[in-house]
Subunit: 348 residues, 2 copies
DNA sequence: CATCATGATGACAGCGCTGTCATTCGTCAA
DNA sequence: TTGACGAATGACAGCGCTGTCATCATGATG
């Protein structure tokens, strides 16, 4: 075996499965099997093969594997944007859940364009992916059509909705915002406003939840809503709030579409010496780590973004192994309103 | 052509290059050429081929392409962690620079482990990538060895250092921190401290820059340094600062390893009613968007993370087209100290 | 001892595309 | 009209691996 290995190394070329086979003195197909389903190869052969692989530093060629098998071991992930820190946590969950699976994530971004999403879905699907992960439920009809025909697990993350294409993992943004808005009302705020940037579908549903709570409380009339299609940021929170308070000084609380905005509102309110939570209540969405650290700590709707990513990958892995939830399942990870000082704190 | 297309569609199978060829009434190889180098195909044929591609919805199979050509159109990107918001901006720059190139990014994370990095480099390199992007200059000797032998462009991002493997795009973290520390001294702070979490090599160099400035000012004796290997976060900033001020109440300024920590320091100082910038100066690193929005706005060392990502991809694209900088080039994107109220503000 | 089931292994072809040549065709100068 | 030349196109083989089926050795069974 040693001399076989030396001979092969001397070729100084890419090490292929055939080289490993030669070194281990078996046929290529046996090496392939040892890699794919080790239990179908005798321990003796397996041992020799493993040793040969280690000594030659063999790494399988995924292109050849994909071509021959028609599968790719690639999970396509289509999200609106990489710089949205909400997705960063989701991605982290995915990468962690991937480990040891031989699967790879292929990330693509739509820039919040449904057409771009449709195109990416089309491209991914022709590539025979092991799975597809999409953000949200608002795929175009054509895209849903493509996806319905797909023969790989499809997970919609971020949100649960009425009709998952296959499996959905997320939460109800409507309900989260509804609960947060109701909390503001319970705390005695009588003129809450909604601040939103980058009004994607999930933001729209949060807004709807806010409105529903206001209607319920008979406050629909006094409610103010300020939104912008521009990306969300802390400075945007400052600007939107400055705009809001300039035109509607009677506002006494703000439900923010996300935590970046909430932090901006906090800063801007501090600049204007509006005392929090007495003069102004602030509530965010997502509960980024910094909400609790802020001064005062900011109330927010906690979402399990890391868990969403993890679970999405886990679902696909389960499916590939014949387990997992059936098509049509929604997994609601829920949310938890984290009540902090910015809305008056916890009153047992 | 129409009836050829109908015939092909009826097979209801994957559309291959051969199908396109049949529909366009040319040989497969001509279709391949039309895709790869359109100028080598007559306009007439090209037109028919393009029409056939559109009507059939043909998408090339990258696995087959990779196998046949020995190239993959994949750029491997190896970074420590996806949840570090510094890398999010870099990634955004990369994705933007990728558009229209047919190239794809394959992201992998090391979890700050040099061994994991070495393994990933090995795996990526055997895959014949179009390029490789690495974070920093601290690859293991074995990894550098592998990389030196690689026959694809390699870009080290985040940092410029003495001996780039191929091309480096970044800045001097030492100098950035040095300048920031000197600024604190110029502002009259006489007992500055350094706060650091997740002390990766770049953080170490920032610390070195801080120390150099302190020595220069003859303040090495009074200097305090608090670090932790744990991940950086706003709450970690609160905790580290609480720890620091408890043991060393004489501290009058803090240079933070990054902006998360700086924000945490701001919040914690506010909780303790330490007035900023009079009782305490705060300086961050990276200049995340929220630094300017904070109350008071926080001084920070601005870095062009988006530009780094963009330039890294642009370098690889240039190289693939035979242009671009020669091996051994370092591109220093520099930094800019953004002086704000948290260190006393700008004094012309 | 013959028969069969079982597990282990191998031969063969082909996945979809592209590199390398060879061939065809039209065009122009001699 | 002929030959030479370049542009356009095609034939062929093979990239590295795996699915399918066939083969072989082994031990269990009656």
């Amino acid at each position: 075996m040693i001399c076989a290995i030396i001979k092969i190394m001397q070729k100084n070329q890419k090490i292929t499965l055939a080289d490993v086979a030669e070194a281990a003195n078996v046929s290529p197909i046996t090496v392939s099997r040892a890699l794919r389903s080790p239990d179908k190869v005798s321990p003796k052969a397996r041992d020799r093969i493993e040793r040969a692989i280690a000594q030659l530093g063999y790494v399988p060629n995924p292109a050849a594997r994909a071509l021959a098998s028609g599968r790719t071991d690639v999970i396509g992930v289509i999200i609106p944007s990489v710089s949205n820190n909400v997705f960063a946590e989701v991605m982290r969950g995915m990468y962690d859940a991937l480990s040891g699976s031989g699967l790879t994530v292929q990330l693509a971004t739509t820039g919040y364009s449904p057409l771009a999403e449709e195109h990416l879905i089309r491209v991914f699907l022709t590539q025979q992916p092991s799975g597809l992960i999409l953000a949200g439920h608002d795929q175009s009809p054509a895209a849903r059509d493509l996806l319905a025909r797909a023969n790989c697990p499809i997970v919609q993350v971020m949100e649960v909705g009425p009709k998952p294409i296959d499996v959905a993992v997320g939460l109800s943004h409507h309900d989260g915002a509804f609960l947060a808005a109701r909390h503001l009302i319970e705390r005695g705020y009588r003129a809450p406003a909604f601040l939103g940037a980058q009004m994607d579908p999930r933001s729209q549903r949060r807004l709807a939840g806010f409105r529903a709570a206001m209607r319920e409380a008979g406050l629909a009339e006094v409610t103010q809503v300020v939104t912008t299609p521009e990306p969300s940021s802390v400075s945007m929170g400052c600007r939107l709030f400055a705009d809001l308070i300039a035109h509607h000084p009677q506002i006494d609380a703000v439900l923010c579409n996300n935590d970046d905005l909430a932090l901006g509102v906090l800063f801007e309110a501090q600049r204007r010496n509006l005392s929090i939570p007495d003069r102004l209540g602030i509530c965010g969405f997502n509960d980024l780590e910094m909400m609790e650290a802020a001064q005062p700590p900011i109330t927010s709707v906690q979402t399990d973004r890391y868990g969403m990513g993890q679970l999405a990958i886990a679902q696909i892995r389960d499916r590939l192994e014949g387990r997992g939830h059936p098509a049509g399942t929604s997994i609601d990870l829920g949310f938890a309103l984290q009540i902090r000082d910015s809305t008056g704190g916890w009153r047992g």
